[in-house]
């Protein structure tokens, strides 16, 4: 089936409605005028009947009638469109002003057509109430009435056609202008590309029916824009992160190869290259891990874990490092949960690693575990300078480094640790957020109780 545009559909519907309405009105008007004409004719014929009866009063035999015939003709001359026939009960015509027309025999008003002319016929006895008296048939030529009615009908059809056409055109125009917001919406949608995701539909100008759609559309654009921004920033970041070690590798290798050198220099160069390469491999592995998480491929095992034991194991792991920088680490509380041991250890290790780097000498790091009805809360809190509120939401972004002085390409990690932690927590159906105040920073993980 061919698809008909909404505007055409509406225009055709409008036209059909108008045609039906005007046709009904026309038919009613036609009926009314016809009834009106019949009424007028009845009155006219009634008055004529009275006049004729008075002319023919007492002429109930043919001879008496013949005496009055001249008077009758005189009377009839005033009314050229009226003809008269007088017939007896026996079927004899005393007078016939319209020969050749077959008339109904009983009394009453009739409309009939004969040889292309319309007549109104009124049969009545010569003497009122006397059925055996000769019958008067008044024959009124009503051709002009009929003409009028025919003209009227033509006019009605014309009106129906024209008004339908007019409404179709007006309707098309109205529909098009009524649907303009939709068209604007589709224009915006058609114009959306990777470069124009910032475009939005003007929501406040939208009719109420479309406002919701526009809102949904804008929200979708917003999400796309956000995701795209992140993605392109991410790609740019990867390129940027890899550029430094790559350029180090290239330069270093080329410089080493420009002239013969002692063996030790080559070994040194290879070692240095190895460090860069390891850093890059780590970066690629972390990126793959995050990519897997993004695609929902990070599926945690569900083994029963005692979080206190896990935290203690990690604190033990970090203990040498913490002692080095004289930071006191401890754990309080305990809870059990279902989860992936090595993933959760990795998540927690990133938090501890992070905390250790930002805790000043002599500070402390506490891991606290709280079991609640809806799940477990696990937090890592460290003393030290707080993080400005504005930076908190960005902490979990990939490649975000709280300390811009930490240069890329160093042996330090690339700033993916917290992003990985968040991915792991999310894969477990939990949430993570960072809170900070003067002198403290706390990362809070909430894991739901799974059943």
């Amino acid at each position: 089936m061919r698809r008909v545009s909404l505007a055409t559909r509406l225009a055709l519907l409008f036209a059909a409605c108008t045609a039906v309405v005007s046709l009904l009105a026309g038919v009613l008007f036609n009926r009314a005028s016809e009834a009106h004409f019949i009424e007028l004719d009845q009155q006219l014929l009634d008055s004529k009947l009275v006049a004729l009866r008075s002319v023919l009063q007492g002429a109930d035999t043919l001879s008496l009638f013949t005496q009055r015939e001249g008077q009758l003709r005189e009377e009839l001359r005033h009314q050229p469109d009226l003809a008269l026939r007088i017939s007896t009960v026996g079927g004899q015509n005393w007078f016939d002003g319209a020969p050749g027309i077959t008339l109904p025999s009983s009394a009453g008003l009739y409309s009939l057509q004969s040889t292309g002319t319309d007549y109104r016929v009124y049969n009545a006895p010569l003497v009122a109430g006397k059925t055996d008296s000769p019958q008067l048939s008044l024959i009124l030529d009503i051709t002009h009435h009929q003409h009028f009615l025919e003209r009227m009908q033509r006019l009605i059809w014309l009106t129906v056609g024209l008004s339908a056409l007019a409404t179709a055109l007006l309707g098309a125009w109205a529909a098009r202008s009524g649907l303009r917001p939709l068209r604007r919406m589709s224009e915006v949608a058609a114009g959306v590309s990777a470069h124009s995701l910032t475009q939005r539909l003007p929501q406040e100008q939208m009719p109420t029916e479309l406002a919701e759609l526009a809102q949904a559309f804008n929200a979708m654009l917003g999400r796309l824009d956000d995701a795209f921004q992140r993605l392109s920033a991410f790609s740019a970041d990867i390129a940027h992160e890899l550029r430094t070690p790559l350029s180090n590798l290239l330069t270093h290798t080329q410089v080493i190869l420009t002239q013969p050198r002692p063996l030790e220099d080559y070994r040194e160069a290879l070692h240095s290259n190895l460090e860069e390469l390891q850093w890059m491999a780590q970066l690629v592995n972390d990126m793959l891990y995050l990519a897997k998480a993004d695609h929902g491929l990070l599926i945690p095992k569900r083994e029963p874990l005692a979080l206190a034991d896990e935290a203690d194991a990690l604190l033990e792991f970090f203990a040498p490092l913490a002692e080095d920088v004289q930071v006191n680490m401890f754990r309080k509380g305990s809870a059990g949960t279902l989860g992936d041991r090595s993933m959760l250890r990795r998540a927690l290790s990133n938090l501890l690693d992070n905390a250790l780097r930002f805790t000043p000498q002599g500070g402390e790091i506490s891991v606290s575990i709280v079991e609640e009805v809806q799940g477990v809360k696990l937090s890592v809190e460290n003393t030290g300078e707080g993080i400005p509120q504005a930076l908190l939401p960005r902490l979990f972004d990939r490649f975000y480094r709280a300390d811009p002085a930490r240069h890329e390409g160093s042996s330090e990690h690339a700033g993916l640790g917290l992003a990985i932690t968040r991915s792991i927590v999310r894969a477990h159906g939990g949430t993570i957020r960072c809170e900070s105040g003067t002198g403290w920073t706390r990362f809070l993980i909430e894991l739901p109780t799974t059943n």
């Binding site: 599926i299 490092l321 640790g417």
Partner: protein
């Protein structure tokens, strides 16, 4: 020890063979799955290193054929793909270990040695020794040159690992995994710190150093005579 490597990327295959040969293994390299499967079934190998994506027959098909033939050779998979299903699939088919590219050669070497050791029944030692360093596994005591050395539990485990695998370069990730049960790419320098502390106790007061750093690769415990 005879090893078969089935790897279709010439560079990777070449370096793997060179590295493993220099580590003392008798290594054969083939680049396609069909030949690989034939050799795996007919040659008498101690370990198979298989790439997953191969021309001819893929790594899984080779593994299946090997297991169907009733051979119990340890199989180590190398792959550029890290999908969970892949890992599960490989392990279901009877792979013994799995390394995802990019991996460090030291890591591969350590895993190969672990797999080869698994086959042989390790004798129940009561003590481990290298030069004048002696570790008593029963009393959990460490002595060097007759002098008692106090170690924490983890330091003891670390030294035990180094002693058990003396002469092998142990990558940091393997140490983290074996000693602390941290099975993830840890980018902290914790192992460095732990080794430094161990050295302080084990090596610093003695002229003959036993714990050595192999730059970019890991740590090794061995006697070196300068």
């Amino acid at each position: 020890m005879k090893l078969l490597i089935v790897e279709d990327q010439p560079k990777t295959g070449h370096y793997l063979r060179q590295g493993l040969a220099e580590a003392g293994f008798n290594t054969e390299l083939v680049a396609d799955g069909t030949t690989g499967q034939h050799l795996a079934l007919t040659g008498d190998y101690d370990l198979l290193i298989l790439d997953v994506m191969l021309p001819g027959r893929d790594g899984w098909q080779i593994l299946q054929a090997v297991r169907n033939a009733g051979l119990d050779i340890p199989v180590l998979f190398l792959t550029a793909r890290d999908a969970v299903e892949d890992r599960v699939h490989g392990l279901e088919l009877g792979a013994d270990d799995y390394l995802v590219k990019p991996f460090a050669f030291s890591e591969l070497l350590a895993r190969v040695r672990s797999l080869l050791r698994r086959g042989g029944s390790a004798p129940q030692e009561t003590s481990l020794q290298l030069a004048d360093l002696r570790l008593d596994l029963i009393r959990r005591r460490v002595e060097r040159n007759g002098q008692r050395i106090d170690l924490t539990a983890k330091e003891f485990s670390l030294l035990e690992m180094l002693l058990r695998r003396q002469g092998e370069v142990l990558p940091k990730s393997l140490i983290a995994s074996q000693v602390w049960d941290m099975n993830f790419d840890s980018d902290t320098n914790i192992i460095e710190v732990a080794i430094r502390r161990l050295r302080l106790k084990v090596d610093d007061n003695f002229p003959n150093k036993l714990i050595h750093t192999v730059r970019g690769m890991g740590y090794v415990l061995e006697e070196r005579f300068c």
